[in-house]
């Protein structure tokens, strides 16, 4: 996770703005209605600009969050009094905004801790509405709940600001056309809708964890945001499902290895060679805790199995002591359930550890359609290398080299190729 230096006040404020922007946009959108989200974002933007203006000449107030909420609230009250909103308010508290009897008290209440969390949760459900594409869902979450700008989102996805802007614009149209609101899903749809949110958080996390983005910080930020939102789901009894806990456990295990994944020069260190003392023990413990909670009930979700695999690695003291047979079993189950080709590649690699590299090669070569996949090629080449066929290994590593643009990956493959000659 972020290793912020306390002396760097500017960074702290930056982070504060980003975090609080997400909260304030959620709350204000809940008040104004989803259709008026743009105006909610304007209020937040103005509030932050005002804070910058005031704070830069003096000190950051003791309770900067309260300062921001106060300013945002006043601005919102002003807009509501002047009836400046573009679309008719259709939020569940619209009646309270019509009279001075209830306007200010209603807004005060919306800015209390519980209601802020509630608004964020509603926003999460709204962003993960089935009307939006998966890409749009992740974009909306990052924009509204995580306070990232279109430019920052573009950077995180190796895309550009314009593409993201267009995507956001299309979601705005959808919100109006399909009348999407920030209401909670009904009790019947709760589990299904929560699963949709979890899936999006999982993808957001993976984007941070597996992407070949050159900037490490951006990737860690995405993971951190996914975890923060997952934790919000756990804090609410309605969304605190076994699979929610399994997902957070999985995230904890993965993030525990952040410190060991790259060496001093920024080069990739493979699981086998990682210094396990560098794994974050606290996060592993947290992972174990959430995995325990996830075991309540009979339901088994894919996240349970993935978390169990991650747990097996995280709780083993050395690569040599890894229980590959058990991990292979878990992969078999996972593959059966998902039929996901990436799982099939991972399973084959585990098979190599459990039953020998020749078997892994046979399995990998059975998989079709991956000749242009970098990870597939490096996995296959690694197996050839281990069975002593350096020539074939080198050839396949060469192929993999053409399929990645990540400097860290290129360097890793080059090192492997040297070992083959």
């Amino acid at each position: 996770m972020s290793s912020g230096k306390n002396s760097d006040v500017h960074k702290i404020v930056d982070h504060l703005f980003r975090r609080e922007a997400g909260k304030m946009v959620s709350v204000l959108t809940r008040i104004f209605g989803f259709k008026n989200i743009e105006q909610a974002e304007d209020v937040v933007q103005d509030t932050i600009l005002k804070a910058l203006e005031v704070w830069k000449f003096g000190k950051v107030p003791e309770n900067p969050e309260a300062w921001l909420y106060h300013a945002a609230k006043n601005k919102a009250i002003d807009m509501l009094r002047r009836q400046q909103l573009k679309y008719k308010i259709d939020s569940d508290i619209s009646y309270l905004l019509k009279s001075e009897y209830t306007l200010a008290p209603a807004l005060n209440e919306m800015f209390t801790e519980n209601e802020i969390k509630d608004s964020q949760l509603r926003m999460m459900f709204a962003c993960c509405n089935a009307s939006f594409t998966q890409e749009a869902q992740i974009t909306l979450i990052l924009k509204t709940l995580c306070g990232l700008s279109a430019k920052e989102i573009g950077k995180a996805f190796l895309s550009n600001e314009e593409t993201i802007q267009k995507r956001i614009y299309r979601t705005r149209e959808k919100i109006r056309e399909e009348n999407i609101t920030l209401d909670y899903p009904g009790a019947n749809a709760m589990t299904q809708r929560t699963d949709a949110v979890l899936k999006t958080l999982y993808l957001l996390f993976n984007e941070g964890y597996h992407s070949s983005h050159p900037e490490k910080l951006i990737r860690e930020d995405l993971c951190e945001e996914a975890m923060r939102l997952c934790l919000l789901l756990i804090e609410n009894p309605k969304t605190n499902l076994p699979q929610t806990n399994a997902l957070l456990a999985l995230m904890c295990y993965h993030v525990s290895r952040f410190g060991a994944r790259l060496d001093d020069k920024g080069l990739i260190v493979l699981l086998k060679d990682q210094d396990r003392n560098q794994w974050n023990k606290i996060l592993i413990e947290k992972g174990n805790e959430y995995l325990n909670y996830s075991a309540i009930g009979k339901m088994v979700h894919d996240f349970h199995i993935e978390a169990a695999i991650a747990s097996a690695h995280a709780n083993t003291t050395s690569y040599e002591n890894t229980d590959w047979k058990m991990i292979l079993n878990l992969y078999d189950t996972l593959l059966n359930r998902t039929n996901n080709p990436m799982v099939a590649i991972n399973r084959a690699v585990v098979l190599g550890e459990a039953e020998g590299c020749h078997k892994a090669i046979t399995e990998l070569e059975k998989l079709k359609g991956f000749t242009e996949n970098c990870y597939y090629n490096t996995s296959l080449a690694e197996m050839y290398m281990r069975v002593g066929d350096k020539e074939t290994a080198k050839k396949i590593f060469g192929k993999a080299l053409e399929l990645t643009s990540s400097n860290a990956e290129i360097e890793l493959i080059r090192r492997k190729m040297k070992m083959c000659s």
Partner: protein, 118 residues
Amino acid sequence: MEKFLYLFRGTENNAHDMRDNNLSPEDMQAQMQKWMTWMKGLGEKGILVGGEPLQVTGKQVTGTKKVVTDGPFIEAKEIVGGYLIVNAKNIDEAVEISKGCPVLEVDGKIEVRPIQNM
């Protein structure tokens, strides 16, 4: 459906000017909560047309000479502290609805008046 005006009399009964009464912060919050619940209910049932609380200060303009005097105008207890306009079938229903108003719980007084269609 007809429109009716609720006039809330007496500063002590104004939910938004409770500084001088003996309510604790907790009581005040509870009172505020009741207002929110009540208003939301009226809104959802299509009863609420609108309405606002009033400040206790103001001016009075009188007669053809348009004489301006400062408030307060009468005994504090008789000051209008706020108003609401509601939809109801008839005066009886308007009165029935008014009985749910939180102002009554702090011993307030509501004047229910049908709006005269001209």
